[in-house]
């Protein structure tokens, strides 16, 4: 039982680390302000919640096996931190995105968007040729 709790806690922490590494890589390597914000806003929220859940599962051993009921309060505090991060991180991302948008920062032109979709389709070599001169 103790081993099971350890494995679940370690799995949650490793998943959180993977998302943290992904968010950091996105923040470092994405070409655009908006895409960087996209990586930071989502990855940080999820990975923080995952690692804090892992810590809460890990210290729940003391409640189960040694009956330290004070640890239950600590678990509630850790889960409240997770809920707090879940509320505040998207809020601050929204505020920062709005502040950056009013800065009139243009998106990177190399990122394909909706307006360029038709041209990209015509440039594809396997696109069937348009027959205009058929009589």
């Amino acid at each position: 039982m103790s081993l099971l709790i350890d494995v679940v806690a370690a799995g949650l922490m490793i998943a959180g680390l993977v998302f943290f590494i992904g968010a950091t890589l996105g923040l470092l390597r994405f070409p655009d302000f908006y895409t960087r914000m996209h990586a930071a806003g989502k990855g940080d929220t999820l990975s923080t919640i995952l690692i804090l859940l892992g810590v809460a599962v890990y210290i729940s051993k003391e409640v189960f096996f040694e009956h330290h009921w004070v640890v239950l309060l600590v678990m509630v505090k850790i889960l409240s931190i997770a809920g707090f991060i879940m509320v505040t991180s998207p809020t601050s991302t929204h505020a920062l995105m709005r502040a950056g948008y009013e800065d009139a920062d243009e998106p990177d032109p190399q990122i394909p968007n909706k307006d360029q979709g038709a041209e990209c389709l015509e440039d594809r070599p396997d696109h069937p040729p348009v027959m205009e001169d058929m009589e």
């Binding site: 950091t24 470092l28 810590v55 890990y58 601050s92 505020a95 709005r98």
Partner: protein
């Protein structure tokens, strides 16, 4: 398990070191603020892990909660500051300050 938690904390610290690059060379000011916000989120997690390491999670959880609050307030204040300063700059562009036309002299200087 204790060594595993220490390893997770060390990896988080390395990620903070990698994010300092974005803080230093970020092209715009908002990029730097976003990176600092991400570092603050990582620090919140790191404080809880340090508490596990010292076998005193109950104390460090309070630190983490306070740090998360301060991080949120700081990023909101910075975002609002840049938003307002940008808006003020755009308004001064749109409605420039009235300049006296060059042909007319000021009334005080007419008689002299």
């Amino acid at each position: 398990m204790s060594g595993f938690i220490l390893g997770v904390a060390v990896v988080l610290l390395l990620l903070v070191g990698a994010l300092l690059y974005r803080v230093c060379v970020g092209p715009t000011a908002i990029d730097r603020i976003v990176a600092v916000n991400a570092i603050g989120t990582k620090t919140t997690v790191l404080l809880v892990l340090i508490g596990l390491r010292f076998d005193d999670v109950g104390m460090f959880v309070d630190f983490a909660l306070a740090y998360g609050l301060l991080n949120f307030m700081g990023s909101l204040a910075a975002a609002r500051y840049f938003q307002r300063s940008d808006k003020r700059a755009h308004e001064s562009e749109r409605h420039p300050a009235p300049v006296a036309p060059p042909g007319k002299a000021r009334p005080g200087k007419v008689g002299s």
